[in-house]
Every structure is written in structure tokens, then in C-alpha cells.
């Protein structure tokens, strides 16, 4: 290895920085995705609870507001 001919260790600081950038950004991205998903799900839960409350109180027809809220939820998954 050529490094052995040099004095002291190789200058590899840039790579170390790159490595740690990768490590922390991936962890951060995952954490953020958890937070965002949690927030979305909680919002969905609120809407659904409203719908449920309204459905048990309302007549079978349901309102427009329920329909628009409902269509916003369709197709969303975990």
C-alpha cells in the first residue's frame, strides 16, 4: 500500500465526512418520514371519527361535506 511510504496516515477526511453525512441524513430522513406519516394518519383518524359521529347522528343520506372528506381518504394506505 502506497500509504505506508508516506509520513503519517492518509488524508481521507473528505470520505469520512461523506460517510457521516450519509449515515445521519438517512437516519434523519427515516425519522422525518415516520413523523409525517404519523401526522397524516392522525389527521385521517380525526376526519374518520367525525364521519362516524355524524353517521350515527345523521339520517342515512349523509352530507356533501362527508363525501368530500371521504373521497380525500380513499386510496390512502399505510
Amino acid at each position: 500500500m502506497l500509504f505506508l511510504l508516506q509520513e503519517g496516515p492518509a488524508e481521507t477526511l473528505d470520505f469520512m465526512i461523506a460517510g457521516y453525512v450519509v449515515i445521519f441524513s438517512v437516519m434523519l430522513i427515516y425519522l422525518v418520514s415516520l413523523i409525517v406519516r404519523r401526522r397524516n394518519l392522525q389527521r385521517d383518524l380525526e376526519i374518520l371519527k367525525e364521519i362516524e359521529a355524524q353517521e350515527s347522528a345523521d339520517a342515512p343520506e349523509g352530507s356533501d361535506r362527508l363525501n368530500t372528506a371521504a373521497t380525500g381518504l380513499i386510496g390512502q394506505q399505510d
Binding site: 496516515p9 477526511l13 470520505f15 469520512m16 438517512v26 437516519m27 415516520l34 399505510d78
Partner: protein, 232 residues
């Protein structure tokens, strides 16, 4: 799943502190390696991430087995959580392995058996998610996920052996004369301490993230059930 358990809040704090401490140890306590220089410090979290990747893999397979035996959807949630986290950390493992290899061996990839196996493991994880996304029925989705997690888990040690056998018969000219070594250096006692602490830290990080992800999964399940109830 309304309020966050107190234990989890404590775990969050502990995790954050340990991660901070581990990082500080790596940068200020661990010595600079005599030959490779600063980039060697990537090694600590690189191996720790690989460790978490394997831990997740085992968790997913175990959760799969238990799911098949018990049928409770909670274990399916654990399985998916483990796979997701496993993907993130396997990715970190592979990329940092590549970054470490570059200045040392002057190549971005070494086909080292451990790295190769880690990549295949990542592909199995991704295949797991693709399998699940193609199935509508939740019960079937969970069962298939469990089966594939188990099959994948059983295959990985065999993959590692075959990759290593392949390497010993075909020693790679670049790199050290130990075929299969990722980049060998002698670990001083200080390095060993930092290394072990990093492993411990990442295990705690894993536990913390897993718990959060499981809670998320349960919330999602609740939303799904409510959705079915109100929409039908």
C-alpha cells in the same frame, strides 16, 4: 394509540444521548488509524448499521414465524416495521462500506462477501415490500410477508457462505492478502471501546425506531378499520 407511553419518551431521550455520545467518542476519543486516516472512523457506524440490518432481518423472520403460528396482526406490524428499518440501515451499511473502500482500495465496490450479502439482503427486503404491495387482502398480505421473510432469512447465511467460498477460491488482487477482509487494520483497545459502544448505541436506536414504527403501524391499522366501518 393515543398517548405516547412514558417508557418510550424515556427511550427517546436515552437514544438521543447515546447517539450523541457515540458520535463524540468517534470524533474525539477514538484515535486516527495509522494507515487509513480519518475515513476509518466510518467503520464504527458502518458495522453498527450492518448489525442493525441483520437484527431487523432476524426480527422480521421471527415475527413472521410467530404470525403464522398465532395469526395476530400485531406480529405482521412488527414484521413490516423491522423490514423498513432494516432497509434504511442496510442502505447505510452498504453506502458507507463503499465510501470506506474508495480511498483505501481505489474502487467503489469490492464484492467483499459481507457487503455482497448485505446487498442481497437489501434486495430481499425490497422484494418483501413489493410482494406486499401487490396483494389487497390484509390477511393474505401478512401471511405471504411472513413466509417470504422466513425464506429470505434462511437463504442469507447460505448466500454468505457461497459468496465467501467464491472469494477464497478467487482471491481478489486489489486489497489485502486476506480474501474476504473488508479492509483490515489492528484495533487498539480505545478503538474497541468505541466500536462496542457504537454497537450498543445502534441497538438502542433500533429498539427506539422499531417501537415508534410499530405504534405507527397500529395507528394505520386503526385508521383502516375505521375507514372500512364508515365507508361501507
Amino acid at each position: 394509540m393515543e398517548s405516547k407511553p412514558r417508557l418510550l419518551s424515556i427511550l427517546d431521550v436515552v437514544t438521543a444521548l447515546m447517539l450523541l455520545a457515540a458520535t463524540a467518542l468517534v470524533f474525539f476519543y477514538a484515535p486516527v488509524e495509522a494507515v487509513m486516516g480519518q475515513v476509518q472512523k466510518v467503520f464504527y457506524f458502518h458495522v453498527a448499521s450492518g448489525w442493525v440490518g441483520m437484527l431487523s432481518f432476524m426480527t422480521a423472520a421471527a415475527a413472521g414465524i410467530i404470525y403464522l403460528m398465532r395469526g395476530s396482526s400485531n406480529w405482521d406490524i412488527v414484521g413490516v416495521a423491522a423490514v423498513e428499518i432494516g432497509i434504511a440501515f442496510s442502505f447505510i451499511n452498504i453506502v458507507t462500506g463503499s465510501i470506506w473502500a474508495r480511498p483505501i482500495w481505489n474502487t467503489w465496490w469490492t464484492w467483499d462477501p459481507r457487503l455482497t450479502t448485505a446487498t442481497i439482503m437489501l434486495l430481499i427486503y425490497l422484494a418483501y415490500l413489493m410482494l406486499r404491495s401487490g396483494i389487497e387482502d390484509p390477511n393474505r398480505r401478512a401471511r405471504f410477508g411472513a413466509v417470504y421473510a422466513i425464506v429470505g432469512f434462511v437463504s442469507v447465511p447460505l448466500t454468505f457462505f457461497s459468496a465467501r467460498l467464491f472469494r477464497t477460491i478467487h482471491p481478489v488482487v486489489i486489497g489485502s492478502n486476506q480474501p474476504g477482509a473488508e479492509g483490515s487494520f489492528d484495533m487498539t483497545p480505545l478503538m474497541l471501546q468505541v466500536f462496542l459502544f457504537s454497537l450498543l448505541t445502534f441497538t438502542v436506536v433500533y429498539a427506539d425506531l422499531l417501537w415508534h414504527r410499530i405504534r405507527l403501524g397500529k395507528l394505520a391499522e386503526k385508521v383502516e378499520q375505521l375507514k372500512l366501518k364508515t365507508m361501507s
